[in-house]
Amino acid sequence: MNMERNFLVALLSIMVLAVVGSASLADAQDIRIGFTPPVTGASAAEGSFQIKAIKLALKEINAAGGVNGKKIDLRMVDNQSTNPGALAALQKAVEQEKALVLVGSVKSTQILAMSDTIKNYGIPTIVGGTNVTLTRQGNPWLFRVRPDDSIAALAMIKYIKEDAKLTKVGILHDTDAFGAGGADLVEKYTKENGLTLVKREKFTTKDKDYTAQLLSLKNAGAQVMVVYAPNPEDAAVIMRQYRQLGSPYKYLGSPSSQHKDAINLAREASEGLLAVADFVPGATEANRKYAEDYKKEYNEEYDGLSIWTYDGLKILANAIKKVGEDRAKIRDAILATQGYKGGLGTFSFSPNGDGLHEVSVVQIEKGNPKLLKIVNVGSK
């Protein structure tokens, strides 16, 4: 125990020295932006993609002359892939690194752990977690740059009503938090939009036979089945059995249904099915440019789950450009961001801090998701 403690103290001292050392080298005139990615721990792989994405934005901003004549100095602090780590990283970024604003985490649970402290500091923080409640808890300093989980559900219903013009909705969902939560939202929006929910069927992750559920929806008269399955492997089994039962209604899946794993496993059974996606690679000008620049910089394909750090840093930089280095004014400037075209989509912030209100409805064509329509649900 003592040994361990001594080691920790030594390690921390080295880290502090390193930080102090690098801090003294930095130009006092730079604008410091904190970033708390997972460098170690379970999400380290995701973290490395997030760092690549944000560094691309950093390079672009500084190459274009920085912000109001100043360079951006990105200060990264490891959140260790844990909630306490995320909180410690936040404190370090603000107190030691003197970050003006922050790009936080993509994990909803870490963001919840950081939320109160962010509020106390009053520091504008960009986050990527998609749990609906994050931006609904009266914390005016959180800004989400990915579509939250409710948007997908609402967009599905909007698409069913306005584009597919169907009225009888059946739901098939996993009983885990994501599946049940998504199905609750689909049920709510179905009713709010005057459609009929004919039946709600459930399954457990990794089930292998869905005959009972699929037939039950058919006999209940469903015209379309909304599938909320977090696991692409399960979505693939559902797709195949849905096909084998003669595709008795339309299929509209959550993002797992257009995941490459699901398509690879289901092969021809996935052809022509519908799903929603946060975005479709190459569907917009900004996304194509991001893909190109990323490839040029790193000589590899980008990771779809990490673009938010790129868009987030750019949105922060734009806000600072407009109003200078005042946190309250930056907050107002972020909220005033409307119609900004980023790699993930078109950002228009709502008063509660949500930046993206759109998801894409895709159809699987020859093994690739093809954009049918970007559904904007507006700010709620």
């Binding site: 459930k202 457990t204 990794k206 005959t211 009972a212 037939l215 693939a236 003669g246 496993l265």
Partner: protein
């Protein structure tokens, strides 16, 4: 309540049930031979499925040859398993061996992830992907193959144990090891063969269900548990009982999911397990413990 829905569910239930039964057979054989429940039985399905996919993807081995290689491999695998997980503990009680099989099961799952990766793999189907429409009932051709293979294996097994000398020697070993040893039967060898055969049954199951379940490290987990339930329901140690128990569970699951609740689909198998243990602990076809002694 229409006929075609019920027929459809009955067909799927029987197909799923024959998969449970097939895996349950492996349980029964090992239990009869050494009085131990092998909780790695589910992994006996996962390992050959991965081996088959690997042979297919890397070496493009054609189908019949693929079966042969996988079956031979799993035979050797069963013997190695027996040597590592059972043999050193053969003079101990029931529990250490059971825990040892659980250990091997965990090892195999994680080993598969390290060797083959975390993403589920697609096993090419030997049968066409479209369902056959038989009077309005859709049947996956692969299910028909599974049912036929299970039947064939049952018939083979019956003749093997009743008509061949090796089978009779294995039966004798299962019934009374001391007696068998006195009669000059090499008991350790018979037990090794039983493990090999049980593992080969796993290979059959793995190759058959791989194309419909997809091949992933967790594919054997729930399958092994359901098969275990099947053996209890059918009467532990009883071969036809294991198959019938599997068919029963498969059918009940589908109907219960449709008529009662799809959320608790997996729960029904275990509810039945508990009910059977309470009401008829020897299972539907099991002999009474007193008779066995």
């Amino acid at each position: 309540m229409d006929l075609s829905t019920n027929l459809q569910m009955l067909t799927t239930g029987l197909a799923m049930g024959s998969i449970y039964g097939l895996v349950a057979l492996g349980f029964v054989l090992i239990f009869n031979a050494v009085n131990v429940v092998n909780f790695a039985q589910g992994e006996f399905v996962m390992v050959p499925a991965f081996v088959a996919v690997w042979l297919m993807e890397v070496f493009h081995v054609p189908y019949p040859l693929l079966y042969l290689i996988t079956v031979v491999f799993m035979g050797a695998f069963g013997i190695a398993f027996q040597r590592i997980a059972y043999y050193p503990l053969r003079n101990r009680t029931f529990l250490p061996v059971v825990i040892s099989t659980i250990g091997v099961s965990i090892f195999l799952k994680n080993g598969a992830q390290i060797v083959f990766g975390a993403e589920p793999k697609l096993m090419q189907r030997p049968t066409p992907p479209d369902a056959l429409n038989v009077f309005g009932v859709f049947i996956d051709p692969q299910f028909i193959v599974i049912i036929l293979c299970t039947l064939a294996l049952l018939v083979f097994q019956h003749f093997f144990f009743e008509k061949t000398k090796l089978g009779k020697m294995m039966q004798a070993t299962a019934q009374d090891k001391e007696m068998a040893r006195l009669l000059g039967i090499r008991v350790a060898k018979m037990i090794a063969i039983t493990f090999a055969y049980s593992s080969i049954l796993g290979a059959a199951a793995g190759i058959l269900v791989g194309p419909i379940f997809y091949v992933a490290k967790e594919m054997g987990g729930m399958l092994g548990l359901k098969a275990f339930c099947s053996t209890i329901v059918g009467g532990f140690g009883n071969v036809p009982g294991a198959i019938l128990g599997g068919l029963f569970l498969g059918v009940v699951e589908v109907f219960a999911a449709y008529y009662i609740s799809s959320a608790y689909r997996d729960g029904f198998a275990f509810i039945i397990l508990i009910l059977v243990l309470l009401v008829r602990p020897q299972g539907f076809f099991g002999e009474k413990i007193a008779e066995k002694a």
